[in-house]
Amino acid sequence: MSKHTLAVLVENSPGVLARVAGLFSRRAYNIDSLAVGPTENPAISRMTIVINVESHSLEQVIRQLDKLVNVIHIAELKPSESVQAELILVKISATSKNRFDVDAVLETYDAVIVDESAETLTIEATGDAAKISDLLNALERFGIRELAQSGLVGIERGSRSLAERTLSVQSIPTAKSGQADYQN
């Protein structure tokens, strides 16, 4: 079993998330995380999907995904060739007594305090899965009251962009009759 991160460019159209989620569910593929958001092009949304490949090959998952008409492009983001990050907002128990200890942890992980109360602190942090996991372990001893975690997002290193490789698509002339079938 291995984890893979896929960057998927999809048409920004209604139902596209349901199509992708439904495909993973009906073909019994395991999703670890899924994040969707806009891109530099308003017609296109980007999904970052982390999948756990068990009995299915990654190739098979990609090919099935590619069959969805609204899916424009799929690229695997290899950890060594991409930047990947997720975001957490975590509410921990903290008082003036242990505040110094908390600050030390936050400094180590580049995390910031975004809200506080008499008994709690709310912390925001971003980073790759390993860093986030380490931070959460470090915060465990203060008492985690609530955790909100985003899906992973990722982008390839270097100057290339996925969109450049994708959007030079020619249009298809409609035959005079749509019934002019492809076979002949």
Binding site: V10, E11, P14, G15, A18, R19, G22, R26, S57, E59, Q60, R63, Q64, D66, K67, L68, V69, N70, V71, I72, H73, T166, L167, V169, S171, I172, P173, T174, S177, G178, Q179, A180, D181, Y182, Q183, N184
Partner: protein, 579 residues
């Protein structure tokens, strides 16, 4: 040039522009605006009796003509009644466009009267689908739907249109071009894969052409025949490919799979190279996958890249249109053979011997009652290979695939992937509409027939004179066979008693058809001839057959093809075969 009109008129003009000549459907509230311009359209609309019938009729039409079949229904139950035919069309890669009305856009999501989220429901088994709420989007959606349904691997596309989008005023503009950045079917095979395939063929000593329904979809029969004769090796045609290669051809070993011939099943099992052409390694063909053709390398040619490696690893994948693929493969194989002529004689000799030892056959019932296999064999012999045969699902379907002799593509229609009981009558109706001058016989079971026979009313009223042979064994025969073999003969809920009720002759008569009955072997020929002579009315023949006939050979579900049985508790005598 555009002209102001209603969304409904725009829909009908779009369908006309897409080249639709016939559609099958039933009106209702949400789709009603569209039925007003349909009244004046050049498109023939056939009013069916159940939306499921509309869907299967569209499939039958598409399978026979190669064109896109069209069905139309209203929202809610009208749309959900199309679910089975859409799933059926998806499994068997049938080009189909379904149009459904939806409740007005401001009512969507309110659990309005006759509201069902048909786009959501059909996502898993449509190639693509649409929900249109803006009338200006109608022509583009229809143009895209027809393109997507008919290109690449064909499949069903649903266009759901809100009632207010049909009522509002719009401009009709038929798009000159389509932009589908996420849909680019690869038609032309990569040359290197063709060369690799040819090299693998030249190295093999026991190749088999494993031909699937894609050969029919791609109209590749002519090329297939050339390739087969060039190679001179066994050809097997799956359930969906019957007719893609002539049954009379000496290289043809018939159908592989659960009820395939010993020759076809064994050729695959013993092969060292499966030349897979538009087939998908379905479980009904492979049996237990880990024991399927274990010594064979695989060339897998398919238009759908997702089929490659899905069930079986492909040593050489070839993605592309099958007609072009085979056409490209022929010169490449010739070039390889010019370097070194192949010798498949030992392989062919052993397979020939096996085929001769274990031909398809059946035992006549000892009580002198009518044999279902005999009925189907005679139907084929008398009616001939130019006719179209349409089956339901079950024993009669398997016998129709075994004992009808097919010579031409698009003459055998059945529900292969989904296994939809009730497919035959409406699909035969659609087939007859698509090929009005060709005799169309539905070979149906008494169970299947009782699911969708009401479309015979449609046939009777619309001059669609199909013929139906009910293989009446008064039971759900295939389920009963499994109960015989695997449930100690405990026949739980498989007895339909259809020799008592209904009276199929009276039922046929009530639906405006000629009803005939036959229960004696000596009457079979004359009754088939009589049915064949009637061309102005649908005919239903109740063939009252032996109840305990079973389909053989059989590879039990989940077992290895090596364990094929030619009759109950009887395996082929492998020891006497040199394989």
């Amino acid at each position: 040039m555009s002209k102001k009109m209603s969304g409904a008129s725009s829909l009908v003009k779009s369908l006309e522009s897409a080249g639709v000549d016939v559609m099958f459907g039933i009106p209702g509230g949400a789709i009603l605006p569209a039925y007003d311009p349909i009244f004046d359209s050049s498109i023939r609309h056939i009013l069916v009796r159940h939306e499921q019938g509309a869907g299967h009729a569209a499939t039958g039409y598409a399978q026979v003509t190669g064109r896109v079949g069209v069905c139309i229904a209203t929202s809610g139950p009208g749309a959900t009644n199309l679910v089975t035919p859409l799933a059926d069309a998806a499994m068997d890669s049938v080009p189909m466009v379904a149009i459904t009305g939806q409740v007005p856009s401001n009512a969507i999501g309110t659990d309005a009267f006759q509201e069902a989220d048909i786009r959501g429901i059909t996502m898993p088994f449509t190639k693509h689908n649409y929900l249109i709420t803006d009338p200006d989007q109608i022509p583009r959606a229809i143009a895209e739907a027809f393109y997507i349904a008919s290109s690449g691997r064909p499949g069903p596309v649903l266009v759901d249109i809100a009632k207010d989008a049909l009522q509002k005023e719009t401009d009709f503009v038929w798009p000159k071009e389509l932009s589908l950045p996420g849909y680019r079917p690869q038609l032309e095979p990569v040359n290197q894969s063709i060369l690799d395939a040819a090299a693998l063929i030249a190295q093999s000593s026991k190749p088999v052409l494993y031909v699937g329904g894609g050969a029919i979809k791609a109209n590749a029969s002519k090329e297939l025949l050339q390739l087969a004769e060039l190679l001179g090796v066994p050809v097997v045609t799956t359930l969906m490919a019957r007719g893609a290669f002539p049954d009379s051809h000496p290289l043809h070993y018939g159908m592989p799979g659960m009820h395939g011939t010993v020759g076809a099943v064994t050729a695959l099992q013993k092969s060292d190279l499966l030349i897979t052409l538009g087939a998908r390694f379905d479980d009904r063909v492979t049996g237990k996958l880990s024991t399927f053709a274990v010594n064979a390398k695989v060339i897998h040619a398919d238009i759908d890249p997702a089929e490659i490696g899905k069930n079986r690893f492909a040593d050489v994948p070839v993605v592309g249109d099958l007609k072009r693929t085979i056409a490209a493969l022929i010169p490449a194989v010739k070039a390889e053979f010019a370097k070194k002529a192949p010798d498949y004689s030992a392989w062919n000799a052993s397979m020939n011997k096996l085929r001769a030892t274990y031909p398809l056959g059946y035992d006549l019932p000892k009580d002198g009652s009518l044999s279902p296999q005999y009925v189907i064999e005679r139907l084929s012999a008398i009616t001939g290979p130019e006719a179209i045969y349409v089956a339901g699902v079950g024993q009669h379907q398997m016998w129709a695939s075994q004992f009808v002799k097919y010579e031409n593509p698009r003459t055998w229609l059945n529900s292969g992937g989904l296994g939809t009981m009730g497919y035959a009558v409406p699909a035969a109706m659609g087939a007859k509409v698509g090929a009005p001058d060709t005799p169309v016989w539905a070979i149906d079971g008494d169970g299947c027939f009782q699911m969708t026979n009401q479309e015979l009313v449609t046939c009777a009223l619309n001059n669609i004179p199909i013929k139906v042979a009910i293989i009446n064994n008064e039971s759900l025969g295939m389920v009963r066979q499994w109960q015989t073999l695997f449930y100690e003969g405990r026949y739980s809920n498989t007895s339909l008693e259809s020799k008592r009720v209904p009276d199929f002759v009276k039922l046929a008569d009530a639906m405006g058809c000629i009803g005939l009955t036959c229960d004696r072997p000596e009457d079979v020929d004359s009754i088939i001839k009589k049915a064949n002579s009637i061309n102005d009315q649908p005919v239903v023949v109740d063939f009252r057959v032996f109840k305990d006939a079973m389909v053989w050979p059989m590879v039990a579900a989940g077992t290895s093809n090596d364990d094929i049985m030619i009759a109950r508790e009887m395996a082929p005598d492998w020891d006497s075969q040199e394989l």
